[in-house]
């Protein structure tokens, strides 16, 4: 199905450069050129994909990937469309320095809120969105929390973020002490993140 969608897109949108990424585990997707996303979505909507389910932004070291999950509620199909963007500068609160992408809110109104969330969390400037404001964070928040290099601001409106007296250090210390005492994290519970105390062979066996 993905190959077929990719070839349709290539024939109908010049320069879309659609490529089917077939996965053996999980879901396959179609990668398209970022500049052509609006045209690509127009074609897909006319092909029957009437619902935009979600827009996911993912931050990688060298790029940002935005994934559109489209669904066809009449004939029960789903497809993931991906674009790659440069990272831009996501340190401040300036829309101009962010990577730019055309908004698809003219096609599905679901895109309006989804794009606002992606802008707020990952920092992508959706050109053409009617009301691109932060949605979950306050309007004057700086930085984009789901970027991998995000650092929480120390002060927000003269309030200290995460003040020391409100962090439950006792709890943290208790867990740390317990871990040191037990030695083997697996003895306590299955959900320890660190396996440093465990047997390396056993871990390798279990991990496979």
């Amino acid at each position: 199905m993905h190959n077929q969608i990719a070839s349709t897109l290539n024939s109908k949108v010049p320069g879309a450069n659609a490529q089917a990424l077939i996965a053996t585990i999980g879901d396959s997707s179609v990668l398209v050129e970022a500049g052509k996303i609006l045209d690509v979505c127009k074609i897909l909507k006319s092909e029957g994909f009437n619902v935009l389910q979600v827009i996911t932004g993912t931050d990688y070291a060298d790029r940002i990937e935005v994934t559109y999950s489209l669904a066809d509620f009449t004939s029960n199909r789903e497809v993931l469309i991906k674009v790659k963007l440069s990272r831009g500068d996501g340190n401040g609160n300036n829309k101009e320095t962010l990577p730019k992408l055309d908004s698809v809110s003219s096609l599905w109104r679901a895109a309006h809120f989804q794009e606002r969330e992606t802008y707020d969390m990952i920092g992508v400037n959706f050109i053409g969105n009617p009301d691109l404001r932060r949605i979950l964070c306050p309007d004057d928040w700086t930085g984009y929390p789901l970027r991998k290099d995000y650092v929480v601001q120390e002060k927000y409106l003269d309030m200290v973020v995460n003040p020391a007296h409100k962090v439950n250090t006792e709890d943290h210390m208790f867990g740390k002490k317990l871990k040191e005492q037990i030695g083997d994290p697996k003895k306590v519970s299955a959900s320890w993140k660190d396996s440093s105390g465990g047997n390396a062979d056993e871990e390798a066996k279990d991990g496979e």
Partner: protein, 390 residues
């Protein structure tokens, strides 16, 4: 507020006999963040022309805890208690969706008994969640009694869950590969008794509320959504079904053992007003509770002996790749978009919440309504702000 100056002018103009002056300034009102009818910390900025809403702008984020960032720093098992805290009224369904996502990537086989228990708790949770909707919706519209009835029955479910998992609301019960704890025969017997009693009760409740003249007057022909609007905004769950679309993931993309089960998908038919009004959304939820009872009865008949936990590696490493998996939760479709780089923690876990989508529909539904009808509309889309803000 327009202030005294404007009123003086208005008086002058009325003397002149100019009808234009009856058009007054718009009044901006804040509904929330602390408001009993918003079911949480939702703020709706409404612009009103006397009693009529001209514009409604939802402001969300008051409960934002950024679980997606938390998930990137936790191992795969550690995420489960966090997903509980999104829709805290449908925690079992939240867990199940997450567990399914990871299992599908790992290729884990879940034992039969665990699958049955999962369906059992998920459907009980659906009833508990819809009961809370039933009670609070009646309160929104001015009836207090149904709330007390609904909570009596909901309490029975919460007690069963408490015995099963040790918690009343946030369970951490469905684990990757199965469920945490086995269910025993006396608990199953209690579920059976509950079903028998509740089925009779629910009929009474539906007669009491659903066919009440005042209730119908408040909900019929209010907040109408067409299927096209639902598709445009991506609405799912009872909101979409209320508009007459027969779309239920338990039927359309069966997960677990739902394929084997016999149940109907109720849709709005516009009995009391127009298809897709508040009454239809109410009725869909009530009828869904009857269907859930049907499913639970089949679970009680079919449940098999056996283990409740499948073979899962002690340290879970999901192979590199991505998956978008959605399940049918009480409030609509919940999607997990997991992107893994092969490590011990998710690289990115995006959660698609149906309540977030439904909140975005308020600017579409509100204009032209009376302020009191806006309360009925917000109640009828049944949002939980923990899931909206994550």
């Amino acid at each position: 507020m327009s202030g005294g100056h404007h009123e003086e002018n208005a008086e002058e103009k009325i003397l002149l006999g100019d009808m234009e002056v009856l058009k007054s300034d718009l009044l901006t009102l804040n509904m929330g963040p602390q408001h009993p009818a918003t079911h949480g910390v939702l703020r709706v900025e409404i612009k009103t022309d006397s009693e009529i809403v001209v514009e409604a702008i939802p402001h969300i984020g008051y409960l934002h805890r950024c679980f997606e960032k938390h998930a990137e720093n936790l191992d795969y098992r550690g995420v489960i208690p966090f997903v509980d805290r999104m829709d805290y009224l449908g925690a079992m369904n939240m867990e199940w969706g997450y567990a399914l996502t990871i299992e599908k990537m790992l290729g884990t086989e879940v034992p039969k008994r665990a699958e049955y228990i999962r369906i059992l708790v998920a459907e009980l949770q659906r009833i508990a969640s819809h009961l809370l909707f039933f009670g609070t919706y009646a309160i929104d519209l001015g009836a207090f009694t149904p709330f007390l009835y609904a909570f009596q029955d909901r309490e029975q479910i919460l007690r069963i869950f408490e015995e099963l998992s040790g918690a009343r609301l946030l369970y951490n019960y469905i684990w990757i590969g199965g469920v945490w704890n086995d269910i025993n025969d006396s608990q199953l017997a209690r579920v059976k008794t509950f079903c028998d009693e509740f089925e009779l009760n629910l009929k009474k409740y539906h007669d009491l509320v659903g066919h009440n003249k005042i209730f119908i007057g408040r909900t019929a022909n209010v907040g109408i959504l067409t299927p096209e609007q639902c598709y445009d905004y991506g609405a799912t769950g009872p909101v979409l079904r209320g508009s007459g679309v027969k779309w239920d993931l338990r039927r359309k993309k069966p997960y677990g053992l739902y394929e084997k089960f016999d149940f109907d998908v109720p849709v709005g038919t516009g009995v009391k007003g127009t298809v897709g009004d508040c009454w239809d959304r109410y009725e869909v939820r009530v009828l869904e509770m009857f269907e859930s009872i049907k499913i639970i009865r089949q679970v009680l008949e079919g449940i098999e002996e056996g283990p409740v936990m499948g073979k899962v590696p002690k340290i879970i490493k999901v192979p590199a790749g991505e998956i978008y998996l959605k399940t049918e939760c009480p409030r609509g479709e919940l999607g997990y978009h997991l992107i893994s780089d092969g490590g011990k923690t998710p690289y990115r876990l995006k959660i698609k919440s149906s309540c977030f989508t439904h909140v975005s529909m308020l600017p579409e539904m509100a204009p032209g309504q009376m302020v009191a009808d806006l309360v009925a509309t917000i109640g009828s889309i049944d949002i939980v702000l923990g899931e909206v803000d994550r």
